[in-house]
């Protein structure tokens, strides 16, 4: 799988970059919460801003801006576009 080269944690993607969600590593409540916010495989996410201390960061998903903590975003595996 040469594709695996492009997979990164959402938390590691720099501001301004557009990515595509490949899969979620978390389970249970957190996973469901992410999915309810529209973060599911194939969804595109734009990393939009960082807070003054760098955590949380703001992401644009399906037309809305949401804030995710580093620990949450690190569970979301994405592909650089």
């Amino acid at each position: 799988m040469s594709e695996a080269m492009h997979l990164v944690k959402l938390s590691d993607v720099p501001i301004g970059k557009l990515v595509k969600v490949r899969f979620l590593k978390n389970n249970g409540l957190n996973r469901r919460r992410m999915m309810d916010l529209g973060i599911i495989p194939e969804a595109t996410v734009l990393v939009s801003r960082r807070s003054p201390l760098g955590d949380p960061k703001a992401y644009i998903v399906r037309g809305a801006e949401i804030a995710l903590r580093k620990e949450e975003a690190s569970q979301i595996i994405v592909e650089r576009l």
């Binding site: 469901r32 919460r33 309810d36 916010l37 998903v61 037309g63 809305a64």
Partner: protein, 261 residues
Amino acid sequence: MSCNGCKGCDNHKRFHSFNVKLHTKEEIVIALAGNPNVGKSTVFNQLTGLKQHTGNWPGKTVQNARGSFRYKDRKFVLMDLPGTYSLLANSVEEQVARDFICFGKPKATVVVVDATCLERNLNLVLQVMEITDRVVVCLNLMDEAKKKHIDIDIPALEKELGVPIVPTSARSGDGLELLLQKVYDVALGIEKSTPLKVHYSEDVERVVNKLVPYIDRLLQGRLDSKWVALRLIDGDQTILDSIYQYIYCDESRGECGYDGL
């Protein structure tokens, strides 16, 4: 599992304080659901004016607002549910909203959605439609959508979802008259809708079909059995607790002054 004479027990109080004290049998209960920040409160205020009460949901630190209005020959009670993205009981707010739609048995549920980012709002719409057939979608913030040059094919969406969709700009009152008309028709059964039901993977559907007959026998149609089956395989304990609370511990329903079941 009855609890006769449970006037003093917590469960009874809790049911009682879904707080829909109806003055007459003719009052019709409507639920108002929606994501946060879609103008749900604006819709609520426009419809009920000053005829509203606020408080907390029983035993929860979640705001509860209910109001009333007249339309045509009927009096309606409107329950403003907490703004949520989902009804999967990830939070107290979601549980409160879910419980009211499941056990408060509103005659119609209005789901307010944001026309400027419709896609993310449809998650909640689909979830509500899994629980109840009596749904009206209020496509709010149409004025904002127009500004952003977003054009929504309402007839196509209506056909796809199988429920009435009313475009509104609640701030200016646009579309609210038609919303009332649709709510009236759905609540009184004049308009029957057939909501789109989500189809799951074969594995899930197979397990669900196994469970449904058992659930049917236990709940006798008081809740959508397929939906309950899905929650059970989700491992959702909260729905079991709520079923116990609202269905089994409520033999004295009549005295609650609420005959919504």
